[in-house]
Amino acid sequence: MSGLLYLAWRHLDAHRGRALLVVSCIALALWVPWTASRLAARYDVELRARAEATPLVVGAPGNRYDLTLAALYFRPTELDTVPYSAFEALAAEGRALCIPLHMRFTARKAPIVATSVEYAEFRGLALAEGRDPLRIGEVTLGAGIAERLGLGAGDHLFSDPTELYDIARPPALKMRVAGVYAARGTPDDDAVFVDIRTAWVLEGIAHGHADTDDIDEELVLSRTEDSVAVSGALIEYAEVTAENEASFHYHGDTSLLPLSAVLAVPHSTKDATLLKSGVNARKKRLAVTPTAVIDDLLGVVFRIKRFFDLVGAFLVATTTALVALVFLLATRLRARELVTLDRMGAPRRAAATLVGLEIAAVLAVATAAAWLMTAGTLAVLPDLVASF
């Protein structure tokens, strides 16, 4: 056997180009279905895990998939907003811990998630450095985005301008990094967290500027006892500092300030049922259970995956047939050599053993290569749920 092993190895070595080609074909044929299968399994586990951790999402009536994907995975989408009063009403029912969310803006392409301090506790976000974003204009970064941008507590980050050529829109806001959360392997790692009031500054609903008593009178359009109208030329603060923070204010009814969604964590199953049915019965809002939405979504994904499984099986079968043909033809080319070995007194099954050893070696190397390629692909792919 050792002699035949040696011959098999030398034959493969002498025909390494052909052997590598066959190994590549088999490895690719295995890599595609293996990777797809592992990815699907990872999607399944990770998407469900986050959905299961989020009992209820309330938002504006519309597409429940958009609402769930935006609230759970910060997927960019144009959601209709709900007023802040909706959040207050839900909280006032006393059936759930309510967490406001507003996610219309980005900073260096990363989603800005405006929320309250309860969010970090709810998602189990621990601080790696600094503190939560407690003040207007402060951000706390997810671990991934902090690493990508090379930012830490004390650094600054600009929001992405929404309308470059519309001077009526607020400019980019210079925000101070208050802290960085530890990595969790969830979409939170790639988000920029701010206090909900900061989102309203980004919306242009809240703003700060110099006191009207101190500004140039040429910028004052009219002045009465209880109000002052100023020109649009008055420059708003583009950064919140300790000195100007007190000057930030809202105009209009604060209960109408917009939110993208409200996360509700009911105190019991009964509270969850009552809260959801109550919200949906009023029809002004939409309450969804993320697990049900994700189950629906994954149902579609896995129906498609079954098709790809079939394609993968066909690919493997085709490759197997082609590789078998290659070995069959190669064995025919070696017929004379195998006859010589037989005449020289090689064991009866030497020819079959020799070819079998080569096939086994090629399959072993191809399987190992496919396994490494699959592991490599899964390792270099960005976090799936985060990029969902």
Binding site: M1, R10, E337, L341, R343, A346
Partner: protein, 237 residues
């Protein structure tokens, strides 16, 4: 006396009958060998027209084919009744084969080709080391030291056949069987190769049976047999 001669024989075929095809078939063929013994150190040439059974005779002597009747002895032991695997094992180490087309493995170096019989017999490390020593010695004698590291396609025809001869002799076989070993060589190279082959086989005490069509070479052998006459009363001339 007969028994002693039997033991001393490198090879012996006695009362052998071998048939190809069924009786009455147009392609049916029968080879009969009453008694053909080749002593160790003896060189016998086998002649006969194409299709007369020369290669069949070589295959019977090597144990590649088994006769329907008769006895085949190799190195003093009867091999025709042995199990196939045992005959193969004895062939690997007891018979050296030299072919017209050399039949070297193109993916092995000259040295690996020479050591092939030992690998096929599953030799361990110690036996391989000893075989390596014999291979080096044969290479020096046959003048192929420089080509041991080359693959066959980088050797001349004469070098290939000399590597094949070294492969046939490396196990120190009791019988060397050659099927037209000089058929593909030019006359000068053929003469050189034959001289080396005969000298080495005789020097190592191996019985040698060579099939040839080249009658100019026959003087160099101890005996010449016509395969068509092996089934008659007189075997050999």
């Amino acid at each position: 006396m007969v028994e002693k001669a039997h033991r001393d024989a490198g090879s012996r075929l006695r009362g052998v009958r071998f048939r190809y095809g069924r009786a009455g078939d147009r392609d049916a063929f029968e080879l009969a060998v009453d008694d053909l013994a080749i002593a160790r150190g003896e060189a016998v040439a086998c002649i006969g027209p194409s299709g007369s059974g020369k290669t069949t005779l070589v295959h019977l002597a090597a144990g590649i084919l088994t006769p329907e009747e008769g006895e085949v002895h190799l190195g003093g032991a009867r091999i025709d009744g042995l199990a196939d695997e045992e005959r193969r094992r004895r062939r690997a180490l007891g018979v050296g084969l030299v072919f017209q087309e050399f039949e070297l493995l193109d993916y092995l170096s000259g040295l690996d080709n020479v050591l092939l019989p030992h690998r096929l017999a599953g030799a361990g490390r110690e036996r391989m080391a000893a075989a390596r020593g014999r291979a080096d010695q044969l290479a020096r004698t046959l003048g192929i030291e420089e080509v041991l590291g080359r693959v066959p396609r980088r050797m001349s025809q004469g070098q290939r056949q000399r590597v094949a001869i070294a492969r046939a002799l490396v196990t120190e076989p009791s019988l060397v069987l050659c099927d037209e070993p000089t058929g593909n060589l030019d006359p000068t190279t053929a003469d050189d190769v034959l001289t080396l082959l005969l000298a080495e086989a005789r020097g190592r005490g191996a019985a040698l049976l060579m099939v040839t069509h080249d009658h100019s070479l026959l003087d160099r052998f101890d005996r010449v047999v016509d395969v068509r006459e092996l089934g008659s009363a007189e075997a050999g001339a």
